[in-house]
Symmetry: C2
């Protein structure tokens, strides 16, 4: 019997994925050249689909790296000479900050404790900040930043680049890409694809900044520096042989999402999230780890085990072929992380809720 | 009707690939965690298979990047403070050199014209060379470096690291990894997998060098710097979410190759190559681009079109559902590039030869 995955990434595969893979093999997609017209059409269609799904302005490219982790590196390397400012409230926003440190930049940060969100009225964006690094959805703890807060901070950051990690909230997050300059996600979360592709949405402001740093003689990278990405994007090619099959599949799944309708996806995501948080409000030994409802993630719901630990719960669920994520890092044995992605359809969420009620 | 691909990458898929993909989906490989015991077992088995296939010594790791292009960058960044020496005889060995330039190192080089190999008695490896960069098989022009020459240069480079690009010659190339410190390939060539994984074979000498550079406070990378790769390799994990499905498939195809036997693979590759070069020796309007038999690649056979251009030949082959590579770069319309990988089985090579005889 197959497992039902509720893990926050790698996650449940998109319902149509197997069909698309089969078609990809019939079309011999793994053998086509990445310098062929066939590939350029796939890239172009994928870009146009994502443009529609994310409502992207015209001056915005979509380029492909191998993971969101790679994009942290490429983004900071390409666009920051010295100063980035990071809002840290979990393991992944912290890694984004540490990437800037490893690249020997001079990053600064605001930090709140795990499970807490930010009071943005306390955030000061100094004039020397070149890049403001925000994380919409902390996959580690299930804390989310309200989209209005992101937009407000972006408005206060007109001189700098506003960068947003939407790894585990795309495409649910209704981001205004007239305010946010760059965002990125990996496909093994809500897009339900095999891991191995990072999707980087990036506007002209970012590439212009990168060109300035290059002109100064600064080291901004090699084949995957932003100016190279952009140059190849303009002809719907990539600087090196990409994960062609994943781009093909991303296009197919994006078209499926457009058919579902992004508004419907958002409504369904919220309905399923409500059911999960309702369960946690009324549960004997589980509670929402994030207390402030405004900061509760709609796509990764994290439950804290009151007076106990998660191992036995995960084990019991596994016996019913339900695979839920354990906690992240220090919370490994204290939390359950439940993905509420598109592939985690309502019927499965209901089954999980039923199981957790009686567990 | 399906095409028969003879392109040098992306290339024909490995004969067993579709079966393995189907099994991967049945086993839900795209959903498993890269921090799970299931993944660690896949990585370990894949490493052990590659260790056997390449006859690797014990102090040698196999780690996964997204492409060979990424490995050029990570290798130079991690292991070179100033001086690398590059043997350039085509577009890809040149890009390896340019990667060092882009990383603001001080690379030097020997260069011969396209289609020519090196007389290694003319190569001087100065004592300050930290990394000697060799390309076993120039995918751009079909010129190959005799393995004995590689070993002899490696012996002359005891103080430095000897790095070898085996992108389009693995696993055919019978490299002595007691002499060569690091080598790398991408899986969309002779391994016949979808693009999106770079395989990096790397020994302790390299990681020790990298640790020294780090201690000096030099910037050697972030999540994919060599010391990180090594640390995670020791527990059969990866620094970030990798292309899990590709690693699963690489393991399966490696096991298939071990069943075929590496000696048989080498014999068959040479037999098929001989047939192709025999054709070119006796053809009206095609000839081998590489004249020196000792430097003729066994895995990428490049034909020059005498007094003409390749477009019409490629078109006629395409009408018979045979897809052959065009020339690379400046030779785009002058050459045919014919892959002689494992998936290009003898029956297909025979059919292609027959077609080219009567074309």
């Amino acid at each position: 019997m197959q497992n039902i995955y509720f893990t926050p990434g790698p996650a449940a595969i998109f319902p149509t994925l197997s069909k698309h893979i089969q078609e990809a093999f019939e079309l011999q997609i793994p053998s086509i050249s990445h310098r062929s017209e066939t590939f350029r059409k796939i890239y172009q269609e994928c870009y146009q689909g994502l443009k529609q799904l994310f409502n992207l302005p015209d001056n915005t490219a979509v380029v492909f790296a191998s993971s969101a982790t790679e994009i942290w590196e490429r983004l900071i390397w390409s666009c920051v000479e010295n100063h980035s400012l990071h809002l840290i409230n979990g393991a992944f926003s912290k890694k984004f900050y540490e990437t800037a440190q490893q690249l020997q930049k001079k990053p600064s940060f605001y930090e709140v404790e795990a499970g807490k969100g930010f009071d943005i009225s306390t955030i000061q964006i100094e004039k020397n900040i070149e890049l403001l690094a925000l994380t919409h959805n902390e996959t580690s703890t299930g804390v989310s930043m309200p989209v209005e807060d992101i937009h407000r901070l972006a408005e206060q950051n007109e001189q700098g680049i506003t960068a947003l990690d939407i790894v585990s909230s795309a495409p649910y997050a209704a981001i205004d890409f007239r305010k946010v300059d760059t965002a990125f996600f990996s496909v093994q979360k809500s897009f339900g694809l095999p891991a191995g592709l990072g999707v980087w949405i990036v506007n002209e402001k970012c590439v212009k900044k990168s060109a300035i740093l290059e002109k100064k003689g600064l080291l901004t990278g090699t084949y995957h520096r932003l100016t190279q990405f952009w140059k190849y994007f303009e002809k719907f090619e990539t600087p090196s042989t990409p994960n062609v099959l994943a781009i093909y599949l991303l296009n197919k799944v994006t078209q499926d999402m457009l058919k579902m309708g992004i508004e419907n996806i958002r409504i369904q995501t919220e309905q399923k999230a409500k059911k999960l948080y309702d369960l946690l409000e009324n549960h004997d030994y589980l509670e929402a780890f994030v207390k402030n409802k405004a900061h509760q993630s709609k796509t990764v719901v994290v439950a804290n085990v009151k007076n106990g630990e998660s191992t036995s719960i995960l084990k019991k669920l596994k016996e019913k072929n339900m695979v839920v994520g354990s906690g992240y890092g220090e919370f490994k044995n204290a939390h359950l992380r439940i993905a509420n992605f598109i592939a985690n359809e309502e019927v499965y969420i209901d089954a999980l809720i039923n199981e957790l009620k009686n567990n």
